[in-house]
Every structure is written in structure tokens, then in C-alpha cells.
């Protein structure tokens, strides 16, 4: 396990070095390795391939134009890209929600009480709840967010996530649990900043 971990750190540091010195082939390699993950994270939050494409472009453009924003001593490139993609995707959905709300502001039909039962209204509720959760996820302390990203978006087991982050297995389990409970509570008590801000 340890050599793999070290190889990961070394490989990230080498990629970072090439990015810093303006070697565009390093960017192509990073994209080949992590483009899929970044899009996957973005599409889960945005539900739109076009939006995910835009988020991916933004994420890789940021890595390339501000390589010093990533520090290989502080974490893996995989996790860093995943966190950035998630944050950008949440921003995208928030701004889309704002636009939608603004566009419909004078549509009186929308102010009617939604009918219970399945239908488009339920989808809207589901989407808003999903966004609420993703917003809460984006606000979690970084150590918790990292484990969630590896488990949820990158498909790692808690043990693999612990190895990648260099933390004990028990810590990984605890962080997943704390994170998920915090998310559950955010539903019970929704401050809903995204939708508030959209008003």
C-alpha cells in the first residue's frame, strides 16, 4: 500500500511541476486521467451534459492557468479536481436557479400551491432538495468533503479512500458518517442559501 501511495504523491508532484513550467502535454495527461471524474461530478450536480462540459472546461482551465492553486503537498490532484468540479457545479446550478426564478417571477401560475402526487412539481422539489444537499456538501469541512468525494464520486471504498488520503481507516469511516449526518440535518433545517440568494 505504502509504495502505491508514495507513487501517487510523486506522480502528482511531477504533473504539477510540468503544469507550472507550461508543459501543455501535462494538461492533456491530467485531462485524460481525470476528465471523466470531473464530468461525472459535474453531471451529478447539474443534471446536464452541456453544463458538465462547461464546468469541466472551467476546472481544467483553472488548473492550467493557476497551477499554484493546487499544492501537491496538501492533497491529491484527484481530490482537488473533484472538489473544484463540485463547487463549480453547485455555483452553476445556483445561478441557473436564480435565472429560472427571475424568468418566472411574474408567472402567477407558479405561485399556486403545487399539487401533491408525482409530476413535474415533484421533480422540481427533488431537484431543489438535491441542490440543497450539494450546497451543504460544498460547505462541509475539507477533510470530510475529501472522503465523501472519494467514496461518492470517485467510487473508492472507505479503505481505498483512507489510503489515498493517508488517514486511518477508522477516521475515514467516522468522517463519512459525520458528513452524511450533517447532510441529513441540513434537510431537516434548511437555511437554503442558494434559493434565498436567488430571490
Amino acid at each position: 500500500m505504502v509504495p502505491v501511495e508514495q507513487a501517487g504523491v510523486g506522480a502528482d508532484a511531477e504533473l504539477h511541476r510540468r503544469l507550472v513550467y507550461g508543459d501543455e502535454s501535462a494538461l492533456a495527461e491530467v485531462y485524460t486521467a481525470y476528465g471523466g471524474l470531473v464530468r461525472r461530478v459535474a453531471v451529478r450536480v447539474t443534471r446536464s451534459a452541456a453544463a458538465a462540459e462547461d464546468v469541466a472546461q472551467e476546472v481544467f482551465a483553472q488548473l492550467w492557468s493557476r497551477p499554484y492553486a493546487f499544492d501537491p503537498r496538501r492533497g491529491s490532484l484527484r481530490t482537488w479536481l473533484s472538489l473544484l468540479a463540485h463547487r463549480r457545479a453547485v455555483d452553476w446550478v445556483r445561478s441557473e436557479a436564480r435565472h429560472r426564478k427571475a424568468a418566472r417571477a411574474d408567472d402567477s401560475a407558479l405561485h399556486a400551491i403545487p399539487e401533491p402526487g408525482p409530476g413535474p412539481d415533484e421533480t422540481v422539489v427533488d431537484r431543489e432538495r438535491s441542490l440543497l444537499l450539494h450546497s451543504a456538501l460544498a460547505e462541509l469541512p475539507q477533510p470530510q468533503r475529501e472522503v465523501v468525494h472519494l467514496a461518492y464520486f470517485a467510487g473508492r471504498t472507505y479503505r481505498q479512500a483512507a489510503v489515498e488520503l493517508g488517514i486511518p481507516e477508522g477516521t475515514a469511516k467516522t468522517r463519512l458518517r459525520t458528513a452524511l449526518r450533517t447532510l441529513a440535518e441540513s434537510l431537516a433545517d434548511p437555511p437554503d442559501p442558494a434559493l434565498e440568494r436567488g430571490a
Binding site: 508532484a13 511541476r17 507550472v20 513550467y21 507550461g22 508543459d23 501543455e24 494538461l27 492533456a28 485531462y31 485524460t32 476528465g35 471523466g36 461525472r40 453531471v43 451529478r44 443534471r47 446536464s48 451534459a49 452541456a50 458538465a52 462540459e53 481544467f60 482551465a61 492550467w64 492557468s65 493557476r66 499554484y68 499544492d71 408525482p118 413535474p120 415533484e122 421533480t123 427533488d126 431537484r127 438535491s130 444537499l133 450539494h134 456538501l137 465523501v148 467514496a151 461518492y152 464520486f153 467510487g155 473508492r156 471504498t157 472507505y158 479503505r159 479512500a161 477508522g170 469511516k173 467516522t174 463519512l176 458518517r177 458528513a179 452524511l180 449526518r181 447532510l183 441529513a184 434537510l187
Partner: protein, 350 residues
């Protein structure tokens, strides 16, 4: 069953995320079937993960395309690489393609530009000597100037009022002070733009693209070297100052790519050998993972061996390491080793 219960409870979040080890998959369902507390908690957590997923694909109709809703986690999502790279390159150009002797300078310039995009609001941070970040860039602007003038790549900087015949080091000290004073009167962004424009002009000179035209020797700042080697000296200084700025800003500047580092080291060893002269006590010198050189007299047997890390050697030659402090592997005559280290540090290259 208590241990089992506690162990399962600990794993419920991992279970909800689908992040269990294969071995755990077998222990959870039987326990959930018998333990109501765990089953409730499991359902609560899994519900959160489901809500995170958002509406089911069939109901998701943002723009009517079913293919874009909820792809399986394992499916690789291919996207047009060229679009992503093109957008990135619009934000920051790649280091220009130049001949191998100029590539280290092209890379160092690209790396320093990237670093300086983190300097906003911190231009006044002290770096080295009495220079802040802004003045360090102004210093590089002055330091690149002699080569730029030699290659006809000057960018119309205000001329210097220094009289002909002034010794090069005195002239150089006055010029750098002059340029720094001038640049202090401008916003840092303009200094960076001026430095960057001059570097770009150097890198588009024929001597940066073609080894043959870079073979002629010229004397700049007291060193008579082929133009190709002057490009290496520029790379060396640009990197060392980027490293200075990085330390000041709390950012770790990676060493130049291996191949560039090898070029820099070969040049530094040659200059060190020349500085030691043909009569110095001979020392077998090596950098980790690199070749070996005998420095000093070749008329007598080697007195000592000295091995340095490549980056440490560059920092020593760049005046960033006191000779007594640089980490080293040494054997044999201590005074011969000390002589090499002290001479390396006194090259006062930068």
C-alpha cells in the same frame, strides 16, 4: 452481537455511499434484518444519498435528453479533449517551443508568470536583499536586458545614463538600481508586462530557435559564453528568483524539469571548474543521479569526493546556501571539499 452491532453501525455511512469493502457486504444485510435501530439509521442515511442523486432519470427532463441524466458512476464520460485544452490555453499560453538550449528559459518564464498570478495584493512582500516581489521582477527585467540588447530584442526601455568604460559589475549594479527605481513608480502589473514582453522577445529571437546562431560567444556581465549558455544563465536566475518569491509567498516552487536541471548543472559545473582553476586540489564531484566530474588539478590524484543534491547544488551556486550548511556527502580531504563549496558559493552568479 454487540461488537457486530458497533462494527456495522460504524459502516452504515460507507454502506449508504456504496463504499464498502467487498468483505463487509456480507456482514451488513444480516444485521440490518435483525437490528431495528441500525435498519432505521441505514434507511435514513441511504435516503440522503438518494436525494443527493436528485430526481430519477425518467422524471429529469431539463432539456429532454434522456442520455444526459444520471450516467452510471463507472461509465467513462468522454468529452472533446481539444475543446477543453483550447479553452485552457486561451487563459494561459504554453511555454513556447524553442531550441533545447532556450527551453529551460522558456519554462522558467512560464513558471514565474504562473507564480506571479498569485502575487495580487502581496507585491510588497519582502523577498531577498531589500527587494519585495515587485522589485524582484524589476531586477529580472534589468538582468535580462544585456542579452536582449545583444540579440536585438530590446523593448525600448529607458536608456541607461551609465558612462562607457565603467567596469561591468559597477555598471550592472547601477543599472539594476536604476531600473528598480523606475519600476517602483509604476503599478506592478506594468513591470510584469514589461518583463514578460522582453522575455517573449528573447524567446522569439533567432538565437532562441536555432542552435547554430546561438553558438557565437559573447561577453555579458563578465562572462564570456556562447549565446546558448547565456540563455541557460537567464533560466537559472529566473528560476532562483521565482524560488525566492515562492518562499516569500509561502508557495513551493518545484525545481525545473529534470532535463532542464541537467543543462543548468552542466553549465554551473563548467563555470565552477573554470573558477577553481587548474591548480586547485582535485575533488571528484557528483550530483545525485548524475555524472561525475573531477574539479581542479588533473595532475595529481583526487583528494576528496563530494556529492550534492542537484537542487542544493544550484541553490549553493545561486548564493542561496551558505557553503557550510549545504547538505552533502563528502569523503577525504576536508579542506579540498571546503575549497570547492566556498568557491561555488562565491560565484555570486546572481
Amino acid at each position: 452481537m454487540t461488537t457486530d452491532h458497533d462494527a456495522v453501525r460504524e459502516l452504515l455511512a460507507a454502506w449508504a455511499f456504496g463504499a464498502l469493502e467487498p468483505a463487509d457486504e456480507k456482514t451488513i444485510p444480516p444485521h440490518l434484518a435483525t437490528c431495528e435501530t441500525c435498519a432505521r439509521e441505514a434507511e435514513r442515511l441511504r435516503a440522503v444519498v438518494r436525494m443527493l442523486e436528485g430526481p430519477a432519470p425518467a422524471a429529469s427532463a431539463s432539456d429532454g435528453s434522456p442520455s444526459e441524466a444520471r450516467p452510471p458512476a463507472s461509465a467513462p464520460l468522454e468529452g472533446p479533449t481539444s475543446t477543453v485544452l483550447a479553452r485552457a490555453l486561451r487563459h494561459r499560453a504554453a511555454a513556447p517551443a524553442v531550441a533545447p538550449h532556450a527551453a529551460p528559459y522558456a519554462a522558467a518564464v512560464s513558471g514565474l508568470k504562473a507564480l506571479l498570478s498569485e502575487a495580487d495584493g502581496r507585491w510588497g512582500t519582502p523577498v531577498v536583499h531589500d527587494w519585495d516581489v515587485h522589485a524582484t521582477v524589476a531586477h529580472l527585467l534589468a538582468a535580462d536586458e544585456p542579452l536582449a540588447a545583444e540579440l536585438g530584442a530590446g523593448t525600448g526601455r529607458p536608456p541607461s545614463g551609465i558612462e562607457e568604460g565603467t567596469p561591468w559589475d559597477a555598471a550592472w549594479n547601477r543599472r539594476t538600481a536604476e531600473v528598480i527605481a523606475h519600476e517602483r513608480g509604476r503599478p506592478p502589473g506594468e513591470t510584469v508586462a514589461a518583463w514578460s514582453a522582453q522575455a517573449a522577445a528573447l524567446l522569439s529571437a533567432p538565437e532562441a530557435r536555432d542552435a547554430q546562431s546561438a553558438a557565437r560567444a559573447v561577453t555579458l556581465m563578465g562572462l564570456r559564453l556562447p549565446v546558448a549558455d547565456h540563455f541557460l544563465v537567464r533560466a537559472f536566475e529566473t528560476w532562483i528568483h521565482a524560488d525566492d518569491i515562492g518562499r516569500a509567498l509561502g508557495l513551493a516552487v518545484p525545481p525545473p524539469p529534470e532535463e532542464h536541471l541537467r543543462h543548468l548543472i552542466r553549465l554551473a559545473v563548467r563555470i565552477l571548474g573554470a573558477a577553481l582553476g587548474p591548480t586547485a586540489p582535485p575533488v571528484l564531484f557528483s550530483v545525485t543521479g548524475g555524472p561525475e566530474w573531477v574539479l581542479g588539478s588533473d595532475a595529481e590524484p583526487v583528494r576528496a569526493e563530494l556529492a550534492l543534491d542537484p537542487v542544493d547544488f544550484c541553490l549553493l551556486v545561486g548564493g542561496r546556501y551558505p557553503p557550510q550548511e549545504v547538505p552533502r556527502g563528502a569523503a577525504g580531504d576536508e579542506s579540498a571539499v571546503r575549497n570547492v563549496l566556498e568557491r561555488a558559493a562565491s560565484l555570486a552568479w546572481l
